[in-house]
Symmetry: D3
Subunit: 248 residues, 6 copies
């Protein structure tokens, strides 16, 4: 792994966003082992959504809204958040003058291995292209979740960088949008996400687990997964439907 | 095949729904050979949609609305219908109190081999999860059609149980919805479906054929498929476009 | 290649549309080499969308709207345009009377090898089925772009004819729609398309390049692709994010 | 008032729906005074939505979805429920053969003064026209709530019968839909409604209060309305914003 | 009335559209008395939609889609059709260069008194502003129906020119769209409209009656309106619901 | 006017939001006379949208998206911005525990007379109720623009406080959302809005004019309005359509 990823040092900034708009230079690290244990759960988003229901926490979004570009990808990692909004200048002006105010490259620059970039982005335009995906991959990110468009789907697939996005479009955001905040509190598909929240994504959707509740969610999720495994065994063993084990 | 599937006996009920809300314990069986003959038609939903147009019957829904989870799956079978509606209690209460009023497991319990479970379900939440899909598979069902969400897409794919659904989401319906009727008349994607209607589904969409018209539809569909086969041969043989056979 | 494709001869018309509604019998041919050079660009729609931004031209549509039926297909070719609108008679009448006013077969008839059929079609019904796709394939077309539904997705995949469409549905347009113009100016997904405009389509979306600007777009696109290649090499070589080459 | 409205007698049925599909001939009567007290609350739907939140009950729908035809109308009354689904026959056949399976007239027939007809109807077609509205008005109904289309908006306004509907369209449901249940459990705009539930509607939206909780909801709503009245007085009196009374 | 409106003379063209794109200089005149008789029908769009159903003709659109700007306006007249599509140049260029290719003023120029301008327009931008509405009013038009946006709603209201449109937006179409055809066959909200078709619009929606069927539609509509009038009288007279007159 | 409104003093804060999330305590004041001159323009949003097109500035939103609650209201004033996002806790918990994190009252508290509160709010819930509207009215605000729901429409109408909102719903945001920023840069209906930008709203829609460009926009808008006035006079005077004055 590249030395520049060390949590205690910070790389040279790209300058694509004013430093005072970067709320945290490094996303908080999750407790040791937490990520791996979440990864051990099959069909994890459904299990976690159930547990969050029981704990009174919102946080699950369906794959019909946040659609995966790599259908069988599964990722878990802490959120590095980015907020994009539209520029006011017409694109023809900004494209010719090359006024690029997108700063998701600064997010890649600050990412630690395993981070998941989560973008509260703009609809109708791309908030992450192929070169950006390749950069994220090289930085060791687990992938990205984007409310808004992405592009170069072939490129991000070739470098095996998984994306969950609301939209695919070749229209660049480069001349159209501005990144106004990194590692602030954002909202993605109706769910609040804070830096360091645990992101779990698979082909059923995406769960955002508040970091303060993550250990509690994990424990209940592991228990639930074990119970479900047992129930599947009972089905395979031919147990009558009316006799299947139930916790309800 | 498990003895408990014999049409003349009925398994022990699960009790997840009041028995007086089950309009028919067993879905009517289609005439001998009908299912197999429908299965012999390539691109069946398009052919059947055409024939129903000529007979003045509505009943075709596009794959853009009822999206397949297994892209190349093709199924034919009689409909076992389920109707779900929302509960009134907030989910936090029901999740903690484990008030589960979903009863699609009762549908699996009553399913005969080859049945297609058709759910007039609730949007935004899952009306069928992976354990439920696995149970349906074991019961010998052909698959399921769901107006509403499903989850655990990886699980249902691993057990090879095909689903056509309007939505994918990890959010459970377990604590949110109630099954109010089994084998009643329902409406799915704007089409009325009655128990025993023949369901034909492929990657182009889903057709619901009223059982009373099914033999008539089949006969015309087979003739149409034969004509189309002939037209394809003419194309392959290099017949000029203006000289291709036509029935119009 | 079939002799009937020779640009200077025109095949016998099918008669499915009045000849005075065919604005051009043959789509204008692009300059020699232009198609091949556009094909050499990886992730071409994103690159071309950027260049058109700089030139003040609209013309890119996302794959979320025009969805590919063959996910990894990539095509480039001149547009052969078709405009469909609804009939006024109820379908039951037209289906029984076999009143078919669709004329995309006339478009296939007039297509030259490499053409892309672009249909300003009707939502909710199919504007191109499997036999039509097979005919287009035989005629040497590159594929088709359709604002509206298509059907027989299995069939078009089997003959390897790629489609980008807004919708998939088994419901035929045959008895419902009428082709009112071939090779006129149409609008697809909010973009004006004229016959001979260059269509570039991949899994990120579709670009329509006005033929009058195509050489200019190509030149800038090739330069941009070369620069991006260089940037990707820099990423692979481990260049720090803040030091990556940039034109902005 | 017409004698036929007496709760203890039932009028001659219209026969438009099979009697065994009428789950209750008369909607349960609310406790004495309850309707009038709910009517005394200004901006009632907002107040009641708040109280239901505190009690863990879902049941409020916005006026953006259920749009009023008489902007300033306000109604309160017990729900008389109707469920409509699509017919399968093409409309041209049913229109010529005059096959009318809509039975909201049976609902008017069974309505007691003050009832609110609530229809789980069909989108894209009218589930209640002007003559039907005039009939409902004569029967003494408070108005109607319809998930689906309505028509003859001028007519219903002239007879002063208020409607909240998801859609306005001249297309009749008469030849297209079938009423399959009266006074069963239905779902309207995502909310379960049972016969006798209290419907409160104004220009902000519609609340459905479960009859079993109605007294409790009313008591809290009256208290909340009194507190809000006091707060408004404080505002008018010039109290600084930071000093306004608050219960939070 | 201004002499320039005489059907046999044609005014000087504005030149905003190439004359060969004007398919008919004057919209065909309806039979004498037809317009007035249609105007005599209360809640006309619902009655006409019913009659067209019985004749197997599509042609009714709901007010939820084509929304009136003057709620109680009612108009009847022959259609003068206009088709608009997007330009390809970015708006900043066209706005500064004042490239205006909209030609609905040519339609006003060619309008005869009583005509209804029907625009197959562009979404998201205005296809008719206040000065245009004022011009249409002066020319004696009955009003306009627009698939797409309109603006200056206050202006068109002040001059009492009624509009039914899918959208209201201040964003001009002037620099964004191009009128490509006047008095051709267009499609509005899924309905084909030809020049001279009879447009009937009220607060329930819009009906487009094919001119070839208009006399037949009128006759049946008058009979239906008379029957409905009788039924309303029966309701007012207190006839029991089960005894109301019915034709079904 | 209440002394507490003086721009140089700041009232006691409500504490509903952390003071470090208030980016500016007072919205910048527009140049003297600017507001009044903008108010003098009839159909102002259309005129301003045109002028911004010519200057290459985005900033107009249609009334189909931001719908007025008082149809004929027209307002102009500087933007006081608020950003709301969802809470993570289930509403049942927060409603019972009375955890209210909405802080638009702090915005009212800080508002100077003539300010327009602009909320980047949450869909599906109310971001401003009747008591809040009444407070805004008392503070002298011109009105509010809200991306998201509002409620108590009757209340805000009674106190004559105009709102433009994307949605109307009785469901409170009080227990569901959190105000995370006051007077930061927000995005409303796809348009970036900064504190102090000039908001112009009428029944055609809403324009957001960047304060740095406001004088330039005003000058061009006044000239354009004068020209349009002249053109209307020409229409009234009977000038032939082809001879109307034009700047294109």
């Amino acid at each position: 792994m590249n030395d520049s990823f060390a949590p205690n040092s910070v790389p040279k900034l790209t300058g694509k966003i004013s430093p005072d708009r970067i709320r945290l230079l490094r996303t908080p690290r999750p407790p040791h082992g937490l990520i791996e244990k979440f990864k051990s759960i099959a069909d994890a988003t459904s299990v976690i959504a159930d547990v969050m229901d029981e704990l009174g926490i919102s946080g699950a979004v369906g794959a019909s809204l946040l659609k995966p570009t790599l259908p069988t990808a599964r990722i878990v990692g802490p959120a590095l958040t980015v907020r994009n909004i539209m520029q006011r200048e017409h694109v023809y002006e900004t494209a010719r003058a090359r006024v690029n105010r997108m700063a998701e490259f600064e997010a890649h620059n600050l990412a630690l291995p395993g981070d998941v970039v989560v973008i509260d982005g703009v609809a109708g335009v791309s908030n992450m292209g192929g070169i950006s995906a390749q950069t994220g991959k090289r930085q060791g990110e687990a992938g990205a979740i984007i409310s808004g468009g992405v592009r170069d789907v072939g490129h991000s697939r070739r470098v095996d960088y998984p994306l969950w996005a609301t939209e695919i479009t070749p229209v660049t955001g480069k001349w159209r949008i501005e990144t106004v905040e990194i590692n602030g509190d954002i909202q993605v598909a109706g769910i609040r996400v804070s830096p360091g929240d645990i992101v779990v994504a698979d082909e059923t959707g995406v769960c955002f687990v508040p970091i303060a509740r993550a250990a509690e969610v994990l424990e209940l999720a592991l228990a639930k997964a074990a119970f479900e495994h047992e129930k599947c065994n009972a089905i395979d063993a031919g147990t009558a439907v009316a006799d299947l084990p139930s916790k309800e």
